[in-house]
Symmetry: C2
Subunit: 494 residues, 2 copies
């Protein structure tokens, strides 16, 4: 899909044809998995498998050599034992190939007693022939923007289909670029593009940052960093990007054991944790050491959830979670302001007599759904007294009731009936849409929490309507804290 | 179910008959939900609904008054407007009832301008007639040990069936005693007993602690505390219990907004966070401020997972997660020791050439399942060089393959076939059981992490075999840290 972008990484992510070395029909190898990922993603370009013996692979005609392929493929994917890779690079050069994705490991990351110069060989061949390549020792790329319409992807690295969004990842770990997406909780997030850079023999994470900077299909950038080789360029780019697009980063180095792991993992020498922390702070990069928080931040930021200040309004129908949220918020330096007398008075007229109006606002068990989902959040959003809302207890009572009806005695005697799923769909829509629109109108992000199963019918409906929903109440506060910090950075660096 | 325990709370949790005020057939009230919880839990005792007009409720004959009930119910459950509760208490006294569970709110937690003396009234009636009662303003109780065999419960507070274990909760929040269990991730944990103490007008959290202390159906205790009214007794009991049974506590007070929420929630005055922290530390109570960690601790501790020291062995097949785990471990004060030369040599002979042997042990993509699941953990457990293991990447490749076969092209051309689920069951059992036995034999807890959906077929199989499985790698390290601290406390207080 063309966007007028000329960065070479855009070409690697949008090939019209690919050749792939290493796959067969057995399924039992990384190369097969990568080819199958292309297939399940309905990659719209041409696929040319290359194999010394097979005539066809997964139904595609196979070629003995790259030379026999009837065109010059835009990208060549290589998953072969490292010792023969330099020869393949030469064949690519002869064919006129411009881009290679080199998946194979066993190059620089060998331990010292088995060192080799394979990396140097391929770097030289690439340089001599103007080839750019990703890897080695990577899981390749994912591009959910290969076609105008959502639904197809250029994907060799991810085992499942993901919703399209404008979150792009560049990662020095294949797991962080690919394998953090197999969870129903993360389906809400989706993914735009992802690049596993591996050992960075030719293309590095700084190239990715440079590409994402001007890429209009990228609104939020996620990085997993073990080592930055081009520090000056990284700083320069990061400073340019962060006032416009949020950058979320995990730094995987800094401890003794971590560095030991790194040395064997990519062969890079890790740096000092404090240096990276300082760099992130200076450049406005949002740092996290937790994968879940990385994903939570990506979800909130792709939705554009940026609180203008640190004042949290907490709406709850249960005391415990409200109290815990308030405690955590204050411990984290956020503010849970006592509401003004006037606002309390306004709430008092509408809430049940045993409710609490001060903030947390505890409506207790007695609740009126349109009031709870729409009116109460709107009053708070309009008030100007809070910058962000958390709402605990958005429970699907109908789900609970439907479940009770599975018991024979209850089914026989209860006066209530199973809810028509379409009515529940309508109800969820009617309760959520006005509030999500208000959140946009007043620029007050709202985060929901339900104690029910994340995939229960009601929770699924809330999520389908676009709510950011958490199962328990541990994650929203640290998330909001980081959003506030970035928001402040952005306000002062506009 | 009798265990020779004479504590009065054991009687409240094991009634042979209950009367319930407030329920009807509509389903649309807390009282109805509580009655339906009794029904879905197959409560084996007699149920006497009391209602002024109805002849039968959910198929049970209903009684106009308690007086008409043909026996003295062991426990009376009341969910009625607060103003009529003193009258009901008097009727209970006349009938000779010994125990009441008072669910209704609207007593002490009223805001000051609507204050009443209802609490004082019921306290006096109870005192005069030797009645003990739980509440008001609570969600009641749950007892998964009501019968010898697992499968029935005395449950008025939890909407779903839960596996039975020896984890018991006493909570000053109904949500923390009941509503944190609706998540597929928590089904592995299950629950033994749970008591929502509400406003503690008569029975408090200290009574619960006293009961759980000698209860052989309780091995691990969870507390949610907003305020401890009998501090001295609490200290005394906690000190007696923690060397034998772990106690996990969340303290919900301490911040300004938290205290504001508390005051309206239960009417109690919250204390100083530092005092509670000091009390927890002195008594060996494991403190957490996160609900998820509360549940993780409960799961590990009910399994008896107590590392003897702080040395972690990290097994991985992906560099990034291994590095991040090592980093987090060191940041948290745990040790990721470099393995001895001898042990590294032993591993080197068995691992693929590009693997890393130092710790984290990264076997890379090339993996042999029996080696990965059984041999490698066993070598480490036997070595004496680590106290606890984390294993990342226990992926169900067959699940991935089965999913690929849903695509027509792959189904048509691939040489691999769908796996027989029974064979996968056998495989999971054969890979997990030896290691879980070794974990017990060598007293080295092992925690698993998979990037796949927690309910994917392979992840479910691992969990069914008794593995503690995490989806992402953020939670195991903080969990292990707390387990190590408690283990150390226990070793020095034996």
């Amino acid at each position: 899909m063309s966007t007028g972008i000329t960065h070479f990484l855009h070409e690697i992510l949008n090939p019209k044809s690919v050749a792939i070395y290493g796959a067969n029909n057995s399924g039992a190898s990384l190369a097969c998995i990568q080819l199958m990922n292309l297939i399940i993603s309905d990659y719209p370009g041409k696929i040319y498998p290359i194999h010394l013996k097979l005539d066809s692979i997964m139904g595609f005609p196979a070629y003995r050599t790259l030379d026999e392929v009837p065109e010059v493929p835009d990208v060549v994917i290589i998953v072969l034992p490292p010792r023969i890779v330099p020869q393949i690079f030469k064949e690519c050069a002869e064919k006129g190939v411009k881009y290679i994705i080199l998946i194979s490991g066993g190059f620089r990351e060998l331990t010292s007693d088995r060192k080799n110069d394979l990396t140097e060989q391929i770097i030289k061949i690439a340089k001599d022939h103007g080839i750019r390549f990703i890897g080695p020792n990577c899981l390749g790329v994912f591009n959910n923007w290969i076609t105008e319409e959502e639904g197809k992807a250029f994907n060799i690295s991810i085992w499942e289909r993901l919703k399209r969004n404008k979150f792009s990842i560049a990662s020095q770990s294949g797991t962080l670029s690919s394998h953090i997406f197999f969870d129903p909780e993360n389906l809400d997030l989706g993914l735009g593009k992802s690049i596993s850079v591996g050992n960075e023999a030719n293309i590095d994470i700084v190239d990715c940052l440079e590409y994402f900077k001007d890429d209009e299909q990228t609104k939020v950038i996620g990085l997993y960093i073990e080592e930055i080789k081009r520090g000056r360029k990284f700083l320069e780019l990061a400073k340019e990007i962060t006032p416009k697009k949020p950058v979320i980063a995990i730094y995987g180095g800094g401890s003794e054991a971590g560095n030991r792991a790194l040395t064997s993992h990519t062969g890079s020498m890790a740096g000092d944790k404090r240096i990276y922390k300082a760099v992130f702070k200076e450049t406005g990069i949002i740092e996290t050491s937790k994968v879940q928080e990385f994903l939570d931040l990506a979800l909130a930021l792709t939705k554009g959830y940026l609180p203008r200040g640190k004042r949290i309004g907490i709406i709850t129908n249960s005391g415990g979670p409200g109290t815990m949220l308030a405690n955590t918020a204050e411990s984290e330096g956020l503010i849970v302001p006592e509401l003004s007398e006037q606002l309390q008075q306004e709430l008092k007229e509408m809430l049940p007599p045993i409710a609490s109006f001060k903030n947390p606002i505890d409506v207790t068990f007695d609740m009126n759904l349109p009031y709870y989902y729409i009116t109460l959040p709107e009053i708070l959003m309009k008030s100007g007294e809070v910058d962000v809302l958390i709402q605990y207890g958005v429970v699907g009572f109908q789900d609970v009731m439907d479940k009770y009806l599975e018991h024979e005695r209850i089914a026989q005697h209860a006066e209530f009936k199973k809810q028509d799923p379409e009515k529940s769909d309508e109800l969820a829509k009617s309760l959520l849409q006005p509030t999500l629109k208000n959140a946009e109108k007043y620029s007050i992000p709202i985060f929901y929490i339900s104690p029910q199963n994340f995939n229960s019918p009601w929770s699924s409906r809330l999520r389908q309507n676009g709510a950011i929903l958490f199962k328990l109440w541990d994650r929203p506060i640290p998330l909001i804290k980081k959003l506030c910090e970035y928001s402040e950075f952005k306000q002062t660096h506009a």
